[in-house]
């Protein structure tokens, strides 16, 4: 992984920058001790590590603003960091950059049931928002599997998903507003408790921009009333094709479940060995389908899904009778990553999205790729919205295996794009998929995206080296190549 060449002149000024940061953030919020910096050398993508030049942990918006203003004026790069749980290396430090950690901005500022909104600082965890409103029967819908640890600011930066996206949307559909600091140090507010901010929808662009456009210092999210009931079906299928057909037919019947998750055989076996969820071991594909809503609706729909599953050839059909049983159905799926971690020294988690109908085809071709690269793979899958998480099993201590795993992963993502899908459904591009962006986008596509970057950060000081494989200078991107001449389409009907 090639990162931008560190600026030696900036590194030489490290002590001066540390002093400037200490003037802004008093106390222990500036970390420059080399051992302590190692704590911050990676995020959830642990294959890549780089200690940051300095870590700064501001406590309020004014400090974030002052940090960015100083760095902007002094040409110092910034890497924003939330809880550090991201899986694509979006918070991977740079040797010549200040990592700005937002964990100390961790207060919930306002709970507004009348407007069904919560205002939180970016370091508040995803789960803490739900916990803050749970007593009143409310929750925050997007639930990435790291929800106990991941921060809401990071969720916005990555446009985080979760198992409930199919029905309730991704982060972008649940964020009402943000306060954000631009690289210049200017503080801006986008949206609020009202809907659809006027002007260009910058809130929409910020969401999922992976720390390239600004640092979020406050988030307003919408909260929902928890559904009256939730019931789940555990469905086992003798073939992946049958499982895929069931998924397509549920959607085709006009049913949008609260969650619809699939696992393949290796994932079923690994999770069953780990948590003993009671999963059948004689099936090739397992589906957990959850319906939520009033009891009459859930009972009605669960009946219909059961019929669809039977018609698709399900060999196991179980309905939860108790809440404990429902949670048991989920326990395997929710513990899939640690379960896989037990059966392999290392694993790499991929994150492509494909059209649902391509599921069986993609899994079959993935098995071929597994043979080709001589590495195992287990699949967990947000089946409802086509979001695959293949887990590639490898041993980093075996020479060459990491490289083979990376090649295998890249082949899987190319396959996703080839069948009409995309490189990443919810984990982000970061550094992990950066060099694959060309599989999905032309040079012109990426240049147009980077022109948006230039509107926010013309000097490329915010999180450089992430998302885009080539950093074009903004002046170069702005240049217009004109082709003078006659109107070149005499055949266009004109009036």
């Amino acid at each position: 992984m090639q990162m931008p060449k560190p600026d030696e002149a900036v590194i030489a000024r490290r002590q001066e920058i540390v002093r400037a940061m200490r003037d802004i953030v008093p106390g222990e919020g500036v970390i420059d001790d080399l051992d302590a910096l190692k704590t911050y050398d990676c995020d959830g993508l642990m294959a890549y590590r780089q200690p940051p030049m300095i870590v700064v942990l501001p406590e309020d918006t004014a400090q974030v603003s002052a940090i960015l203003r100083y760095c902007s004026e002094n040409g110092v790069k910034i890497v924003p960091r939330g809880a550090g749980t991201g899986l694509s290396g979006g918070a991977l430090p740079l040797a010549d950059a200040v990592t700005v950690g937002l964990t100390r901005l961790s207060r919930i500022l306002d709970i507004d049931f009348d407007n069904r909104a919560v205002v939180a600082q970016p370091g508040v965890t995803n789960l803490a928002i739900t916990e803050a409103v749970a007593d009143a029967g409310f929750y925050y819908a997007p639930d990435p599997s790291s929800q106990i640890a991941c921060s809401i600011g990071g969720n916005v930066a990555e446009n985080a998903g979760g198992v409930h996206c199919l029905k309730y949307g991704l982060t972008t559909n649940n964020v009402l507003g943000v306060e954000m600091v631009l690289m210049s140090g200017e503080v801006v507010r986008l949206g609020g408790k009202h809907l659809d901010a006027g002007g260009y929808d910058m809130l929409g662009v910020i969401t999922g921009s992976e720390g390239l456009l600004g640092i979020i210092t406050e988030v307003t999210v919408r909260i929902l009333r928890r559904p009256a009931t939730a019931r789940a079906l555990l469905l086992g299928f003798p073939t992946v094709e049958a499982g895929g057909e069931c998924v397509a037919n549920v959607i085709g019947a006009g049913i949008i479940p609260g969650g619809m998750e699939m696992m393949d055989k290796p994932a079923i076996h690994a999770t069953e060995a780990f948590v003993g969820a009671g999963y059948p071991l004689d099936v090739e594909a397992l589906l957990v389908v959850e319906l939520d809503g009033p009891e009459v609706e859930v009972d009605h729909l669960i009946e219909r899904v059961e019929v669809i599953a039977r018609e698709a050839g399900a060999s196991t059909i179980r309905r939860n009778e108790t809440e404990e049983e429902r949670l048991a159905f989920w326990s395997g799926r929710k513990n899939a990553f640690p379960a896989i971690g037990r059966i392999t020294p290392d694993y790499m988690c991929m994150d492509g999205t494909i059209p649902r109908k391509e599921l069986a085809n993609v899994l079959a071709r993935m098995r071929e790729l597994s043979k080709k690269h001589n590495l195992g793979v287990a699949n967990v899958f947000h089946a409802g919205d086509g979001n695959l998480h293949p887990l590639i099993l490898f041993d980093a201590n075996e020479p060459g295996e990491l490289e083979r795993a990376e090649k295998f992963g890249a082949d899987i993502l190319r396959l996703c794009v080839e069948v009409g899908g995309v490189l990443t459904g919810e984990h982000g591009v970061g550094v992990e998929k950066r060099d694959l962006m060309g599989v999905m986008f032309t040079e012109d596509d990426m240049k147009q995206q980077q022109r948006v970057k230039c509107a926010f950060d013309p000097e490329h000081l915010l999180n450089p080296g992430k998302v885009y494989p080539i950093l074009h200078r903004c002046a170069e991107l702005g240049r217009l190549h004109v082709h003078h001449g006659q109107i070149p389409f005499p055949d266009i009907p004109r009036f």
Binding site: N173, V188, H194, M202, T353, P355, R356, Q448, I487, P493
Partner: protein, 403 residues
């Protein structure tokens, strides 16, 4: 001479914009021209008419998406999704007709927006030609996609000032089997706007997945074609639920009970009446337009009535509330300044924005149609515009604050 270019393919659109960029001549980008009166008046040397660039290219109901050319009429899209038992969940207003690209470019969403998201949430991907005369694309056909910046959001609501979309992919969803509207009918003797806000807030804060909540004050409700809305003489608050038959019935029943805590006269509208009522709401059909200017305010829902009452203390007109109180439609007696200062002062006190959606062209030329942004934001907006359309050839003046 202002002439019209009418490309029939995406390549011809590219040629047209390239030519305009090289000549530094301006283009008004239109579909069927139905939304020309929305936004500031555009003065352009040429018209780029996309109405010949039509047709649905792919529609896969089980994959929940539809792709079409930019000039495809809404009527064609609506017919296709209805036939497949689906819908565009943001409930685009039908009255203005026009094209899908026009609806997306203006980010127009109906009553269902509060539950299902806005037009912008439904644009999964697009192909376009920037004002630089370059083709580019963003997004795809799947919902879960975080690959690169989400330019779909930027295109929605940009009023054709950044790029000319040639192809769009939008999300489709199953159409609910049954729809019920719980109707609280307030007494004719007074103003119940604030009580209605509380009632809507209670409904939206319930577990009943309310898909629309609107309040039509007395006087306006009497213009409804639905007898049970207009008949009793007072204002009405409508709460809509939908889903599988047993579920819609159950939710409606529960909501009748909830609404009775606020209002004694509560009943339920079924399919046809319910459909008519929400069509009227989504088209703000109740408003007196003759001699009036129309404003659309987006505010925190609980503040809707307070904002409207404040404004009506200073300006003459009437009000209609959608989105649980968060969308305030106002028809105000026409003035040269459209009352902009009064309205925006009130809105800014609670947080939100106000758009002048209907007024004579000379007024829209003078008064900022879109809510003015603070300098730091309008600077970013200008730089975004420069990145897409550095010569300002696309819809010049339409959004005023940026072009």
């Amino acid at each position: 001479m202002a002439d019209t270019l009418r490309p029939e393919t995406a390549v011809e659109v590219l040629d047209a914009v390239k030519w305009a960029a090289s000549e530094e001549t301006t283009l008004e980008v239109v579909g069927l021209g139905s939304k020309r009166g929305y936004g500031r008046p555009v003065e352009a040397a040429h018209t780029l008419d996309l109405s010949a660039l039509g047709g649905i290219t792919t529609y896969e109901p089980s994959e929940l998406y539809l792709s079409c050319r930019a000039g495809t009429p809404m009527a064609e899209i609506t017919a296709a999704v209805v036939e497949a038992g689906q819908m565009l969940a943001f409930e685009p207003p039908q009255a203005t007709g026009g094209t899908l690209a026009g609806v997306i470019a203006c980010n127009l969403s109906g009553p269902r927006r509060i539950m299902a998201g806005a037009a912008r949430d439904h644009l999964l991907g697009f192909n376009a030609v920037s004002g630089r005369g370059e083709e580019f694309k963003s997004g795809g056909t799947v919902v879960k996609n975080v690959t690169g910046f989400d330019l779909s959001k930027l295109m929605a609501g940009s009023f054709g000032t950044l790029a000319v979309m040639t192809d769009l992919t939008i999300k489709t969803l199953p159409r609910p089997e049954k729809v019920r509207t719980v109707l609280a009918r307030w007494r004719p003797d007074g103003v119940y706007d604030r009580a209605a806000m509380k009632a809507m807030s209670a409904a939206l804060g319930s577990a009943h997945e309310v898909s629309a909540a609107a309040h039509v004050p007395a006087g306006l409700a009497q213009r409804s074609a639905v007898g049970r809305v207009s008949g009793p003489g007072g204002g009405v608050t409508g709460i809509r639920v939908d889903g599988p038959a047993p579920s819609a019935e159950h939710r409606a029943g529960e909501l009748v009970g909830l609404m009775r805590e606020f209002c004694t006269d509560v009943e339920t509208l079924h399919s046809e009446n319910s459909g008519t009522f929400w069509r009227e709401v989504s088209e703000s059909a109740y408003l007196e337009r003759d001699g009036h200017q129309v404003w659309c305010l987006s505010v925190p829902p609980s503040q809707g009535a307070a904002v409207a009452i404040d404004i009506l203390d200073n300006l003459h007109g009437e009000v209609l509330y959608d989105w649980g109180g968060g969308l305030v439609w106002m028809a105000l007696e026409a003035r040269d300044d459209a009352g902009a200062e009064v309205i925006r002062d009130v809105v800014e006190r609670v947080g939100g924005h106000a758009t002048l959606t209907e007024a004579a062209a000379d007024v829209r030329d003078r008064v900022p149609v879109f809510h003015p942004q603070p300098a730091a934001l309008s600077d970013v907006a200008r730089r975004i515009k420069d990145g897409f359309d550095p010569k300002g050839i696309l819809n010049p003046g339409r959004m005023a604050t940026v072009d």
